[in-house]
Chain length 241, copies 2
């Protein structure tokens, strides 16, 4: 229960709160580690906490009984638990950790009380939800009209945006679940991308070699949502480094 000083917080939303709003949250903040496959919340069960990642990535997946697949992704640019901010402590989605890391979380009730007391806090979090809707829309868009390679390129870019390193620990199997496709299909797509020199693949790892090339390969499937985030928060989605 380390109630971090705001100046040391990496999460972009928390870091960009006014000092007063942060002070309102601080007594209730709790630092936790994120381990791959941890669940931050599960479909149709009460959401206990809203989670602001510091490092690592959480995936929001739709869980229909006919297999899950990813509808959105959150790292240190946002938070997981949009429905709590919208006043509902339950959702048909599941949220699980995609990349190991660390997060600051707050109880759902505490956050709701704090938002009731601070209109500027609420406004800040609602703006993120707008950008999240755009992200989910873009997932719908990408799924509708783009090839597996293009969608894979998009997914790698989104993951890259939210991690520190160019070397990312990801298996083909995992990507196939996130993209809702076959595992052998991912293998082929990875080989294609590797052939262009944009990435390098090794057992359980993908390394980004040439980000510009990858963006070119992703085409219009990437960029839309990221641009909106920049506009709304006047900050690029990717942390400078």
């Amino acid at each position: 229960m380390s109630q971090a000083q705001q100046s040391t917080v990496r999460n972009r939303l928390l870091a960009s709160l006014s000092a007063g709003d942060y002070a309102l949250l601080r007594p209730h903040l709790e630092t936790v580690t994120l381990e791959v496959r941890d669940h931050l919340f599960r479909a149709d069960q009460k959401i206990a906490h809203v989670t602001f990642p510091e490092y690592g990535i959480a995936s929001i997946v739709a869980d229909t009984g006919e297999g899950r697949f990813e509808v959105g992704m959150v790292g240190s640019e946002g938070f997981a638990g949009t429905s709590v901010v919208l006043g509902i402590d339950r959702t048909p989605h599941t949220c699980l950790v995609q990349a190991t890391g660390e997060a600051i979380r707050i109880g759902s009730g505490e956050l709701q009380s704090a938002m009731d007391r601070s209109p500027t806090l609420r406004a800040h979090l609602l703006r993120f939800i707008h950008t999240f809707i755009v992200q989910v829309s873009q997932t719908a868009y990408a799924n509708a009209g783009y090839s597996l390679e293009e969608r894979l390129a998009r997914w790698l870019l989104m993951t890259h945006d939210r991690l520190e390193h160019d070397d990312m620990p990801i298996t083909h199997e995992f990507m196939s679940i996130m993209l809702g496709t076959r595992r052998p299909g991912v293998t082929l797509a990875v080989q294609m991308l590797e052939g262009t020199g944009a990435i390098r693949a090794s057992r359980g790892h993908i390394t980004i070699l040439d980000r510009d090339k990858l963006e070119h390969l992703a085409g219009q499937s990437y960029g839309f949502a990221e641009k909106e985030y920049s506009n709304v928060f006047a900050l690029p989605i990717k942390r400078g480094r």
Copy 2:
């Protein structure tokens, strides 16, 4: 500028507001007609009004320069202009009328002031946004893993939910744009669905003959978001008739 009495309002969100919250909005409400292809707002331009359909349907489409396609649909169960409620009067999406009808609208600024004065009003509208996120997620889900016939069945069901009649004026061309596919593909899919007896097609019209059969054909691509709406508002999405 007919400031409708709440008891005669068809829009489910407006109708289910408390009398006090409705009174807060009433001076600013304005009734307008919706004509096919009218735009309620355009990508990256200021959103002047939030629109609550009474009859008819509005589509929210992503507009990437590489062709538009639908990410969500709103009828009398909700409203168009989620980003205004989230505090942003601009969005990369475009909203256009899909089916002729009528709507009650309110200026973006007036609605924002009203929400600032009434927490219950804000909460009500935010709950709808949660259900809208689920709808967009399901579009992403359907686009990822379902065949054209299944997605067409889903789209027809969603349209049927929001219209009064089993007979719906829709062209193949229009469906192909909404589904992001080729027009001849729609023709084939329509014939498939017609072959099962679920619908009947005639020039510019689709008639729903057997809704249960259509739901069965749509499989898991339909139902998810509609169920969530029912849970959140304790009302079925389809108006009784």
